[in-house]
């Protein structure tokens, strides 16, 4: 029987998708374990989570958290870095370290049969790091080299200038890698202190996902991480974060890249925290504006006008209000028009061009129907649990996602856009050929363009 090509096939009824049940155990050492049984390939994903990230960097030491975490794999008290990596490689284990603004995640993925050995190595890595002086210097110098290399990457320069402008003087106002000046001043004692204060095992949550039951995970965890209770288990509480500056110090910043064929753009403002009441409305709003391929900005700038390989928007939800940012690179001669269009769409979505019914349907469907594939692997499940821990979200947060998104209606999206998309105080950062774009950008009612030296940054 031939296929009916007069219309697209309609999908069948959507299956109900539930996030795996998460069992909680408190080990004798006070460490809290959250474990999810995830049937699948024989792979176990362990994750240690701390509520300390780059926002915990001392004000004069931006980059310290990331440097400290980068030294975890350079050796322990028992093993040199080479011996440690040899042990990891023999297990076929993968060590991962991710330092975000508000949290640090250290993960270890192993084959199921090495689950206990992997966790033991993970414990050794985070509780007894060697932090040798020569390793410190080498890694610190490597990171200084990376900072230097990032000066040649237009997107990285745009990202840094955007953050520094939106969050001047605020713990969110720097890239995780820090600055060359700060890195050059750091000492191994800084690292040891940061580790002592922020990365103690007692302050961590252990997360596990894989083909074990919660009890089986607890048995392994207790064997490896149990023991004498840590008197400081569970604390310290993360520092309260100050409010971000209400208005940025400048609206339009240009980093000259003479002769560049494209301009890298960052346009955004301080927006919302993860626990904001309008979280699901903002997710839907973002999909409409620029959160997926078929969205207003990408359709226009890429598909209709051919100005770019792609543009995206995102709300970066954090413990404190994180930024809303549009990002992308456009061909240099389309810079001014693209910036104008982005600001105009940000404004119009809450005014004379509200979300249309097809746009709303597409945004909600993409989010709800796409939900299941986001939790296919043990690693994805573990990171889903980590999100609950990081933001103090209820256990059923992931199960609430689909119905909450489905309930977002057009008036809600329009109101959210009007109130929370702030084109009138957005910062525009352009890394491109200034001689071709400065005059046009200056005519956009953003004030005089400020030239920023791409090589320098706040000390």
């Amino acid at each position: 029987m031939a296929v009916d090509r007069t219309r697209l096939p309609a999908p069948g009824p959507a299956p109900a998708v539930r996030f795996p049940a998460v069992a909680r155990h408190r080990l004798t050492s006070g460490v809290v374990l959250r474990a999810a049984r995830h049937p699948g390939p024989p792979v176990v994903h362990w994750l240690l989570s701390w509520r300390a990230g780059t926002a915990s960097d001392p004000a004069d030491r931006p980059g310290l958290a990331a440097l400290t975490a980068d030294l975890f794999d350079e050796g322990t008290e028992r093993r040199s870095g080479l011996e440690l990596h040899d042990a990891l490689d023999r297990l076929g284990a993968r060590l991962g370290v991710r330092v975000g603004a508000d949290a640090t995640l250290v993960s270890l993925t192993t084959l199921e049969r090495h689950a206990a050995a992997g966790l033991a190595l993970l414990r050794e890595i985070v509780t007894q790091p060697r932090f040798a002086a020569d390793d410190f210097e080498r890694v610190r110098d490597l990171r200084r080299s990376r900072v230097r290399q990032m000066r040649s990457v237009p997107a990285a320069v745009a990202e840094r200038v955007c953050l520094e402008t939106l969050y001047r003087g605020h713990p969110y106002g720097h890239l995780g890698i820090g600055t060359d000046a700060a890195l050059s001043r750091m000492t191994v004692d800084d690292v040891r202190r940061f580790h002592r204060e922020r990365y103690r095992l007692g302050a961590a949550t252990l997360i596990a996902a894989g083909p074990f039951s919660g009890d089986a995970f607890a048995d392994v965890a207790e064997r490896v991480l149990g023991g004498r209770p840590d008197p400081e288990a569970g604390g310290p509480e993360p520092d309260a974060l100050p409010a971000a500056p209400a208005t940025p110090s400048a609206r339009l910043l240009i980093v000259d890249r003479p002769g560049a064929v494209q301009s890298a753009l960052r346009i955004g403002h301080v927006a919302a925290a993860r626990r904001t009441p309008g979280y699901h409305a903002l997710q839907v709003l973002n999909m409409v504006l620029g959160g997926q391929f078929v969205s207003r900005l990408n359709q226009s700038l890429r598909e209709e006008k051919g100005y770019t390989y792609g543009v995206r928007t995102a709300f970066h939800f954090r413990r404190a209000p994180g930024p809303f940012v549009m990002q992308g690179s456009v061909q240099a001669d389309a810079t001014v028009e693209s910036v104008r269009e982005v600001l105009d769409e940000m404004r119009a979505l809450g005014a004379e061009r509200p979300v249309t019914p097809p746009e709303l349907d597409l945004a909600r469907s993409a989010l709800t129907r796409g939900f299941a594939r986001g939790f296919e692997t043990a690693g994805q499940v573990a990171r889903g649990v980590a999100e609950l821990v990081q933001y103090d979200l209820p256990d059923d947060e992931h199960d609430r996602f689909v119905p909450a998104v489905a309930a977002v209606d057009a008036p809600t999206v329009t109101a959210a856009a009007a109130r929370r998309l702030r084109a009138d105080r957005a910062v525009v950062v352009v890394v491109g050929p200034a001689d071709r774009i400065e005059a046009g950008l200056g005519a956009l009612s953003l004030g005089d363009p400020q030239r920023v030296d791409g090589r320098a940054s706040a000390p």
């Binding site: 031939a2 299956p15 080479l82 490689d89 490597l142 990457v153 078929v294 100005y307 469907s365 296919e376």
Partner: protein
Amino acid sequence: MLDWTRQTLDNGLDVIVHEDHRCPIAAVNLWYHVGSRHESPGRTGLAHLFEHLMFEGSLHHDRNYFTPLQQAGAAVNGSTSCDRTNYWEVVPANALDLALWLESDRMGWLLPALTAAKFENQRDVVLNERRQQYENRPYGLASMALMSALHPPDHPYHWTTIGEAADLRAATLDDAHAFFRTWYGPENASLTVAGDVETGAALAAARRHFEEIPAGPARSRPAGPPRAGAPEEERRLRLEDRVELPRLYLAWRSPALFAAGDAGMDLLAHVLAGGKTSRLYRALVRDRRLATDVSAAQNSRELDGWFCIAATAVPGRGLAELDEVIGAELAALAADGPEAGEMERGLAQVEAQFVYDLQTVGGFHGRSDQLNAYNVFAGDPGFLDRDLARYRAAGADEVRDLARRLAPSGRVALSIVPAGGVGLALAGSAPAGVS
């Protein structure tokens, strides 16, 4: 781990199904056995351009392909290599028919909807992709320089998949139509469906959607081994770029995918630069602090491969020092071969990589992609065991012998240096002449 069923339709399309009911999703993955090597000089970049054009509408859905897929909650992507193009979606299991409908419609009915306007628009997008990923990116032109130096101008691997900007601008709609008619037929394709599906129903659905597409015209394939051998003398090239630190690339022609020596070269790459216990990491980054990073890779391709070592110098160092250290490490391996521990670690890394990649049914290197790769390149979706076996069979002596091939003669040495930093390049390097 990787059970599968295969049927071949009358029009030549291979259909493979793999069941995995743990997550209510289905992965649809389609390989066309066409890549940049099927292009001609003067008209490079077409295969990759088609990766874009395939999303712009077909006769029965002459609208953007992303919209219905996003509506269905799909993840969507594709890629083009020298040898093949893949397109894939991961959809909720109840949307399998939608994915099959769209894939079959663009296979069978793309050309009636392929207009000059779409062609020109996507060409502009690709020219911007070229700017963003290659021209305006540090070291972005390295692959152009290496490929053109490793292969003579009429060799199908001489150009990169993105193509030359001049060729893209010169290409016509007729060129695009002719290319599609030649290469994008069911007889030149392999379809895998993996996930929460029943084999019988999935095979029937694939048959229903694809069987009415006629096989493409008979054509002569570029056949056999490469037209010309590897360079016989060392070539030293340099490129000034907007980079902060100089980087050295050393490249050789190497065994083809699945050919003798391919797995051994892969293990050699692990021994050389696979992590912090590797020879070059220890020598260059850790002990001598000459480099910020180092990498090594066996890049396997159908006709032949290429092996590359790359290292970035720390501030203040030139590339001659890196070259010297790399040469010393290669000489040591060529003389004594790797130690048993190094071989064990390399093998453990390879085996773990297999397991971790196969955690997902969809996506790049997921199960459906891997089944298609084995089917297209080895003629057998079940090649996984033999693939692993060839790694287990590669011993230290073989790796030692392969290291002996990495001599200065026959290699291309590319120095990418900051503007005005020609003195940091290897001595005697000629300008690379790419843009």
